[in-house]
């Protein structure tokens, strides 16, 4: 990010419209803003914070508008506050503008009530057109992440906290954030959450139910098999019984006393069998007829209604017409009427014939209506036919049933007569025959019952199989969820490895850079170190093999902290220009905006810091008091200060002509041209 121009309007003590242009010269990249204590240096810093994050860290933070502007607005009047920054980021020209309008309620009210506020971020696209970025707040935070604000917009009076006890977390966070490791750290955490989600899915879909269902299916299949065996056994038994029955009947037909009756019985049994076949045939014919035309009786009311509708339309002349459109067209084309009169186009007779077309019927519609009417008639005829056919078949069946019954009655008579015969053999054989016949009948009933049970088992089997299919489908889902959980865990471990590896590499890189900068500034034989716990320490050699930590002065801590920040900015810049691609560390160009960077430093250190300032970042903005602008500092900075300003503060307590405090930004001569 390269700063171009900052514009303030009624922002805090900056009354009216005032602006600062930042130096963009490569060899004079420092912008110096001079100001006495209370003149607004920290307010300038806060203007950046307010613009980017909507936040300020000044006392009376709710009081955004200039007191003088509020006083001039009067009760009920409004004041618009604005901070407007133009800058370049990633080669694109941006203009960010935050405004807030407040209304003064009464005299003494310098806070006001917000009327409206707005944040806008414009940019120039590739074609040179000015466009507005959606979600300006997010966009600005992407350009200048809020978690890095303490690094790039820093207050020199508190910066030494980095190297104080307890500063490790800030250092570690700063390294992670600016070097892109935050992406890896977050990735790890979020993958843990996602892994658990997939594991929950495994629990949800996977279960022991499947093995129970398989067992149930096996049991049902075994039962079905067992029942089938039972039927087979029963049929075997029936066959044997039928063989014995046949033998008994043969014996009866051989015996003289029973022969005739037995022969009649056999004949009757054959006839009954034929008649049963006939009943089956009739039942099939009934079923076929119903399949073919069973709908007809149900359709009859709709058919009648449709036919009636067609008749009505015909009666009203809507469908049929005595005159066909085609005839009219033909007459007009031939220019001759049916009666022979000439039809001259444009004549009255021609016009009269043309008008017939309106009442002429469409032949297509007529044909369609005729076809429908014809089909409706067919359906109506079918209704009669189906009733006739069904009646005939039912009567036929009833007749056959009667015949069977009659013949069975005769069989019963024959059996009775054979039992009544005195001949012992016949008597015994007949009884045995009856037993065997009953047995055969029972076997048939048994087979029927077992078949019914088989049907039930098959029905249960179907249900279990359907359930198995469903659970197998669920298990597939469980299996998939398991694989995804495994992937999440694996990725998490891979990212963790990357994180650990690069975190340590980055710490060492930062460490080397910090020490280089630190030693440029510190005159003593000290060096700075970021240890494995991320403590920023200052050490000195006591022998070739021994080093000890130094009790740091405030100034030394400030130098160490400054060195640390400068090293991060430098590394981020280096990474940005590097060809090496890495999604989690793309680097960036950041300015450094420092309020009182020389705060607690000895003059010697102030001079040295001044000397290295231009190298700390591509653009450096320093806000300094007069006391900090020592000759040593001025000597170092004069050549590299591309722009210089003075904050002229007007204090009511010192100037009776001033009613409300305000500051004016005055450009100073002496910036390098």
């Amino acid at each position: 990010m390269e700063l171009d121009r900052l514009h303030l309007r009624n922002f805090r003590q900056f009354y009216g419209e005032q602006s600062i242009e930042f130096s963009q010269q490569q060899d004079a990249n420092v912008t110096v803003i001079h100001g006495a204590n209370g003149s607004g240096k920290t307010t300038i810093l806060n203007s950046f914070l307010w613009l980017f994050y909507g936040d300020i860290t000044l006392p009376k933070s709710g009081q955004i508008a200039s007191e003088r502007a509020m006083a001039e607005a009067g009760s009920g009047g409004t004041v618009t506050v604005e901070v407007h920054l133009s800058f370049v980021h990633d080669g694109i020209d941006y203009t960010a503008r935050r405004t807030k309008t407040v209304r003064r309620s009464e005299s003494g009210d310098f806070t006001g009530t917000e009327v409206e506020s707005d944040l806008q971020l414009e940019f120039i696209d590739e074609s040179g057109n000015r466009k507005v970025r959606g979600n300006a707040s997010d966009a600005l935070r992407q350009i200048m992440p809020e978690r890095l604000r303490e690094i790039f917009f820093f207050d020199g009076e508190t910066i030494d906290e980095l190297s104080a006890i307890g500063g490790q977390e800030k250092i570690q966070t700063a390294i992670q954030n600016i070097m892109g490791l935050t992406i890896l750290e977050r990735g790890k955490r979020h993958l843990d959450v996602v892994r658990k989600r997939f594991e929950d899915q495994v629990s949800q879909h996977g279960s022991d139910e499947l093995s129970d269902l398989y067992e149930e299916r096996n049991e049902l299949e075994e039962r079905k098999s067992s029942l089938a065996e039972e039927i087979a056994d029963t049929r075997d038994s029936k066959e044997k019984t039928e063989e014995e029955l046949e033998e008994v009947e043969r014996r009866l037909s051989e015996l003289e006393d029973s022969r005739e009756l037995q022969e009649e019985r056999e004949r009757l049994n054959e006839e009954i069998s034929d008649l049963n076949d006939r009943i089956e045939t009739i039942n099939r014919e009934l079923a076929d007829r119903i399949s073919e035309a069973g709908y007809v009786p149900f359709a009859a009311p709709a058919v009648e209604q449709t036919a009636k509708m067609l008749r009505d339309k015909r009666d009203k002349g809507e469908l049929s017409s005595d005159i066909k459109a085609q005839l009219v067209d033909d007459l007009l084309e031939m220019e001759e009427c049916i009666c022979g009169r000439e039809l001259v186009p444009g004549s009255e007779s021609y016009q009269n014939v043309s008008e017939w077309r309106e009442s002429a019927g469409s032949s297509e519609l007529e044909e369609a209506a005729t076809a429908i009417a014809s089909r409706l008639t067919e359906i109506a005829d079918e209704e009669s036919a189906i009733y006739e056919d069904m009646t005939e078949l039912l009567q036929d069946r009833s007749s056959v049933v009667d015949q069977i019954q009659h013949k069975e009655e005769r069989l019963s008579e024959i059996s009775g007569k054979l039992e009544d015969l005195d001949t012992e053999d016949v008597n015994r054989l007949e009884q045995r025959r009856k037993e065997l016949a009953n047995q055969v009948s029972e076997y048939d009933q048994d087979v029927g019952r077992v078949k019914g049970r088989i049907d039930d088992v098959e029905s249960d089997l179907e249900a279990v199989k359907a359930e198995i299919d469903e659970v197998e489908e669920q298990n597939k889902k469980a299996d998939l969820a398991r694989r995804r959980a495994q992937m999440a865990e694996y990725l998490r471990d891979r990212i963790d490895e990357l994180f650990e590896k690069y975190q340590d590499e980055v710490r060492k890189s930062v460490n080397d850079r910090v020490n280089d900068i630190f030693q440029d500034i510190i005159a003593k034989d000290y060096y700075a170190e970021i240890d494995e716990d991320y403590s920023l320490r200052i050490l000195k050699d006591v022998s070739s093999e021994e080093t000890i930590p130094v009790a740091k002065s405030t100034g030394e801590r400030q130098v160490a902290s400054l060195s640390f920040i400068a090293s991060l900015v430098s590394l981020a810049r280096e990474r940005y220009y590097s060809d090496e691609e890495s999604i989690y560390f793309s680097g960036g160009i950041y300015p450094m905006i420092m309020d009182s960077p020389f705060g607690s430093l000895d003059p010697q250190y102030q001079q040295r810091v001044s000397g290295v300032l231009p190298e700390m970042a591509e653009q450096v903005v320093v806000l300094v008091t007069q006391s900090q602008w020592t000759p040593e500092v001025a000597g170092e900075m004069d050549d590299i200060a591309g722009e210089r300003y003075n904050l002229q503060y007007y204090d009511p307590s010192e100037d009776p002509g001033v009613e409300y405090e305000y500051t004016e930004i005055e450009p100073l001569q002496g910036g390098v041209q």
Binding site: I183, G187, H190, L191, V194, M487, A488, I583
Partner: protein
């Protein structure tokens, strides 16, 4: 070295691609203190890559 193994039938190219997509999603939301929806996004990415 990680102890976990990638699922069967997932090659290294898929692993790298998935990781890159996830880290890109993280970068896109890096400016947010609370990156809303990031877990859903990562879940979708893995569901898309592991079928």
């Amino acid at each position: 070295m990680s102890e976990a193994e990638p699922p069967n039938n997932i090659d290294e190219a898929t692993v790298r691609r998935t990781m890159r997509r996830i880290l890109q999603a993280e970068e896109d939301k890096l400016h947010m203190d609370l990156p809303r929806g990031i877990n859903d996004e990562i879940q979708s990415i893995i569901e898309d890559e592991v079928k």
